[in-house]
Symmetry: C2
Subunit: 411 residues, 2 copies
């Protein structure tokens, strides 16, 4: 009777929920079903009027909503108090017995008993609850532009390997060259209380760095650093790498040297251009404006577009120094489309020596950077920040060197 009166499906939903553990009651139902609103009190009252109780209501709900209590509802994972009860000790004793660093305070007999029972019933400490109390999630956040950029996988792997033994997990976010998206990712990481953050998207003046710092989260930057050095950074030596490369190009006899540079807002893009400029300048070679292409997002398309322009100049360059390998690939594609031969007609160089550059045709002359090692060092740096022994914010530089292949020829 009153079932119809009170909107049948609603009651069903409510009762079904009531049968579950710690889930939606009136509030939740109200927010999902907006047609009608009521209180559990009211339902109870009416049920009582009819001489029925909630159990009856629930049975009815199961029937009419086709709801069956799910297995996951009845079988919750064992918790520390379960172990404690079975081992006939206090939960705190279980906690200590299972923590290797505190085990010594507990008698061997109890440690053995607790360990056995924990294993037997498959007890796994709930890390969320532990984080709640300890304030540490044993998780770090890593922000990159896009894992598809081949420099990131070795960085990520190096990082994970460095922190794995300490029990840390890696939360990954792809900022996708969008400051907003990256910022949102960092917000979520902070909300999730990560123990530290590694930024691989840092620009010279980076609001994200400030955000992490403001949240008092240990932060490390890799591959790029902020202008103010406010966080420890692990980078490769871009100036030196590009100087070596440019020097090499010059030694190969090139005089008309173009450069497809990266965004000048990032230390890497900035320093690489500095390297090119300083080497050219030292050799008295000019870098005319039409030979300098600055890209915002140093990706393949950018390399392609810039090269199309460079090669259509009245006197095109004989060598194009690209800010990275991916841009160089784009440059090669442009050459191919224009029927310009590399390296016969134009030499192209890259930077980073990402995977498979040795297999491209012609083999790409580039600058080898040990990203795995940078990731590893960044991981270690973050670990010491997390442990509170932050010696000093600094910039660690990993050297890099030219790898000669075929895309650069002697003229």
């Amino acid at each position: 009777m009153f079932l119809f009166h009170l909107n049948e499906p609603l009651i069903c939903a409510l009762c079904a929920c009531a049968g579950r553990r710690n889930r939606c009651g009136a509030d939740a139902v109200l927010s999902t079903v907006s047609t009608r609103s009521f209180r559990l009190t009211d339902v109870r009252k009416q049920a009582a009027n009819n001489g029925q109780d909630l159990a009856w209501l629930r049975k009815c709900a199961i029937r009419c909503a086709g709801y069956e209590q799910r297995e996951s509802d009845k079988l919750m994972p064992p918790k520390i108090s379960d172990v404690a009860r079975l081992a006939n000790v206090h939960p705190s004793t279980v906690s200590r017995a299972l923590d290797p660093t505190k085990r010594s305070r507990i008698s061997d007999e109890i440690v053995a008993r607790v360990t056995k029972i924990a294993n037997d019933i498959g007890y796994r400490p709930n890390a969320v609850a532990a984080s709640m109390r300890t304030g540490s999630t044993r998780t770090i956040g890593v922000v990159v532009h896009d894992v598809n950029d081949p420099i990131y996988p070795p960085l990520i792997k190096g990082l994970e390997d460095a922190v794995l033994d300490t029990g840390l997990m890696v939360m990954l976010g792809n900022g996708g060259f969008s400051a907003d998206r990256a910022s949102g990712l960092v917000d979520r990481m902070i909300a999730r209380a990560v123990d530290g953050i590694v930024l691989a998207t840092t620009v010279l003046d980076d609001p994200l760095v400030e955000k992490c710092l403001a949240a008092k989260i240990p932060t490390v930057s890799m591959v790029r650093y902020p202008r103010d050095g406010s966080v420890t950074s692990v980078v490769n030596d871009c100036v030196s790498g590009m100087e070596q490369m440019t020097q090499h190009v010059i030694e190969c006899g090139h005089q008309r040297v173009a450069c497809i540079a990266g965004p000048q807002t990032s230390s890497a893009g900035h320093n690489r251009l500095i390297g090119v400029r300083s080497s050219l300048h030292r050799s008295g070679i000019d870098l005319p404006p039409e030979f300098l292409k600055i890209t915002d997002q140093p990706r393949m398309e950018a390399g392609y577009a810039a090269t199309m322009e460079l090669l259509s100049l009245a006197t095109p360059p004989t060598a194009i120094i690209c800010v990275n390998d991916v841009v160089a690939m784009g440059a090669m594609r442009a050459c191919r489309e224009l029927g310009v031969s590399c390296p016969e007609d134009v030499s192209i160089t890259g930077f980073n020596n990402v995977a498979f550059t040795e297999f491209v045709a012609p083999g790409l002359t580039t600058v080898a950077v040990d990203f795995q090692r940078i990731g590893d060092l960044a991981g270690r740096a973050l670990l010491s920040e997390i442990e509170g022994k932050c010696p000093q914010k600094n910039i660690q530089t990993v050297p890099c060197h030219v790898v000669s292949r075929d895309s650069l020829r002697v003229i």
Copy 2:
């Protein structure tokens, strides 16, 4: 006086800690300093005997241990009760006002006031605490072999893009071809109460799948599936892809066709070999044992080693069908070292069409797989599992097709 008696540095550490918030007390000190053990009670007692209190002890500690209270200790991030106090409402009201799905139950005026104050003081809900209550961390775990394998980045990116709008974050783990490491990663993910897990390392009989299922965590497999179909899987059509490729090789006139296959414990490795076999069989071409190399870890070194063996046969194959592109790269390297020309002397094909295969020399003929899409579909599948509307465990197949380049030639 008693300071010396009780071991000075110990007291210092203790007192310093006592000045901090919710951190190490006697227990913690005891576990780190094993030389001597004592109780705070005792210290208090002695301090009282000396007519001193803890505050004095602490001052002394700061002096002698050089400990200064850290900023992070005094300035904790604002919490919901801070907002509530400032807005002069109950924390529960703040919680509801800030939750868009429940905002409707709160008066506009309070929503506005609470929102403003929350913004002003930079309140960010503590996701860990929320997880504690709701049981959901809004985080999913992803397990791959190694991000450096170029098939994984697009999978990961596709996945992240698919779930990003729902507020989920991605926790990444590199199993590194080690069952133990992968298992440990999954354990940690489960302990951290991820809302779901995506496995990209699935083998036909996979204990990891069972582990996830046993933990009652929504699980999806991508690129590979378990034999029993116990989890929804999103894969590319390996049988068909390899059939197409093999057919193509045959149509190019090859009769002596070798195959470097992947591990037969994975559905991908297994099905690709099936594809090769079925196509060869249909054309009446034999696959003699010496032409079939099965690798455990289908990586570059494996492709290299297998090819060295194949090419040193008395009558070597004219075409080598590789289980994937990376193996094919290894095969090409072997050719180069042996002075065997590809494709003049031997044709090589890959699978996956990973980034940059078009740039290698010779351009790799391979099978294009849309990994980004697979990642996307896996993400969507996981979302519906998480939302509880799991229609049916199934295998979603994404088609793939041959991409002809230069590494396969007509003979």
